[in-house]
Amino acid sequence: MAHNVIYMKQVKKRYQTGQVFFDALRGIDLRVEQGELIAVVGPSGSGKSTLMNIMGCLDVPTGGVYKLDDKVVNTLTSNQLADIRNKKIGFVFQAFNLLPYATAYENVEVPLLFARVSGKKRRERVHELLARVGLADKMANKPTEMSGGEMQRVAIARALANEPDIILADEPTGNLDSKSGGAIVKLFEELHDSGKTIVMITHDKSIAERAQRVVRLKDGLNDTNGDLS
């Protein structure tokens, strides 16, 4: 059996606003094996994004166990989590989340700076990444000077900066027209072929069909396929 890069057991997330509680996740079980391409689907409010955020260490669960590469994430310090976000996981957002004042080059450079990659290596890596997503000629452009598809490609290049094992994408094509969306999906497929583990939230059936496995969520619970076994 392949190695479980992601292992979740009864993961819960409760939000509290004053006296009001809201359970976004009520006990999710999930395993992701190395090299899998997984689609997470479900109606809005089903907890997809919350799940992704926890998976990407952008948020912490309020219950259950989350293991990343056999390490329990729940108890890690904020610095350890930062390092995981920096090196182990590449996150692609629906809203791109690029630094608005920075050029494509500078945006891709940010994770490398946090990883303390030295000057020459960093330059080569940024060029290589932007070439890989087809933006070698737009390096000096700022987000405002790029189309949505281009911005998302910059974001993908940025997610790949430190060669993470896992790519998490939260509706990466959600803000794009179908043509640019198709190009992005193609990029993800290439990444998958190169051996990356990819977990992607999507509403797009055609994308879901290409996934090896589709995980359905409903009301913060597994609907199907959370666990391989």
Partner: protein, 412 residues
């Protein structure tokens, strides 16, 4: 390398957010500049006023002869009281509050050097007089001394304007030359160093000549002094000295020490005390304005920091999602504030210094004095504004950095 990379990132951020950086910098610049100027001109004006007040002499009173207005011990009123040099020595021997005392006589005389002729007040004085009245000789010259007085030497000390008038371009060689005073030859022993003087009773010292009183008295067969100048010891006031002198002379000449007619006295220390108090209040006012300016500047900096909070929080969220540690986020803020404050503050200091240099060139020194840069005060201002900026910037940043990345991304 760690620090180097942080610095690179910090400069990237700074460059990207030009407007924000410039606005913040300008806030610091303006605050620093205002306070630098306030302090510099405040100091200049105060010094100029106090200096020119001191120009006539510090802690001095001037005593003129008078006529008694009260009957005393059976003596009628209306008697003339006219002190002599002997009386001056008499007072000097007995008084405890007096630092220096000297008689003063004076009248208009004709001064002549070559073809230059001028009519000026020439005073007969003692050596102490020069010290009391701040008659400081220029380099290579001197004031009347005791030997001049004892030997009745015909020497003269000239006010700088008189010297300029008599000697013109050759004023630098004036010392040692002879001039004619009412037709008699006198050797110039000294020329007064230029000074600020805003009050007088016979005209400015710069327009007078000074000769030994013994010579003056011989020349005009004077027995009485026109007036007496006395300087009190720093621990006493002019008023205490005045009372003591009146008591001593009152005993000698049998008049009531409270008789305001017997001798008329000008206590210059009264005005000086007033001026000192005034400028004390003035300094307080400047400090208050400075504090108000600081607060305004601080609020400005705080505002800018808060206006960009939304943008900042998202930026922090993005950076944390990409692997920034809390410490590197905070380091970035500290560096940013330090840099902006240092640059803005130094620019403000330099601009203020420039104005401080330029303004005196446009004249008006007599009134506003020479503004003087208060380096420590200015540095203090920069530090305070920096701290305000740091507090204003670092608390929101810390709050954002303490959130989970996803919260920082979604907060606004």
């Amino acid at each position: 390398m760690n620090v180097f990379l942080s610095i690179k990132q910090f400069f990237n951020d700074l460059r990207r957010q030009k407007l924000r950086s410039i606005m913040t910098m300008f806030g610091i610049f303006w605050g620093t500049c205002s306070i630098v100027l306030l302090l510099a001109f405040g100091t200049g004006i105060t010094e100029a006023q106090l200096k020119s007040q001191k120009g006539m002499g510090e802690n001095i009173i001037i005593i003129w002869p008078g006529i008694t207005a009260k009957e005393f011990k059976g003596l009628p009123k209306g008697r003339r009281i006219r002190p002599t040099d002997d009386d001056v020595n008499y007072i000097k021997e007995r008084a405890t509050t007096i630092a220096r005392i000297a008689p003063e006589n004076g009248r208009n005389m004709n001064l002549k050097f070559g073809r230059q002729l001028t009519s000026r007040n020439v005073m007969g004085v003692w050596p102490e007089y020069g010290i009391m009245r701040n008659l400081i000789p220029q380099m290579g010259s001197r004031f009347i001394n005791q030997l001049d007085l004892d030997n009745r030497r015909r020497v003269i000390f000239l006010g700088n304007l008189v010297a300029d008038q008599l000697f013109g371009d050759s004023v630098s060689t004036a010392v040692g030359r002879e001039i004619l005073v009412n037709g008699l030859p006198y050797t110039v022993v000294g020329i007064m160093k230029e000074k600020e003087q805003d009050s007088s009773y016979r005209g400015r010292d710069s327009r007078m000549g000074f000769i030994p009183n013994s010579v003056y008295q011989a020349m005009f067969s004077e027995r009485y002094s026109d007036d007496i100048v006395a300087q009190c010891k720093p621990q006493f006031t002019g008023e205490i000295m005045r009372q003591e002198i009146l008591r001593i002379l009152g005993e000698k000449y049998k008049f009531d020490p409270t008789d305001v007619g017997a001798l008329s006295v000008w206590d210059t220390t009264e005005g000086f005390a007033f001026l000192k108090n005034f400028f004390y209040a003035f300094s307080g006012f400047l400090v208050a304005v400075g504090i108000a300016t600081l607060i305004t500047g601080g609020i400005g900096v705080t505002n800018i920091m808060n206006v960009v909070l939304e943008e900042r929080t998202k930026e922090i969220g993005i950076k944390m999602a990409l692997g920034a540690r809390k410490s590197s986020i905070l380091l970035q803020f500290v560096l940013e504030t330090l840099f902006i404050t240092a640059v803005g503050g130094l620019l403000g200091l330099m601009f203020g210094a420039l104005i401080v240099k330029i303004v005196p060139m446009m004249g008006g020194e007599e009134f506003i004095g020479v503004p003087r840069l208060n380096l420590w005060g200015s540095m203090g201002v920069i530090v305070i504004l920096g701290i305000v900026g740091l507090i204003a910037g670092i608390f929101p940043a810390r709050r954002a950095a303490n959130l989970q990345p996803v919260q920082a991304l979604k907060l606004f």
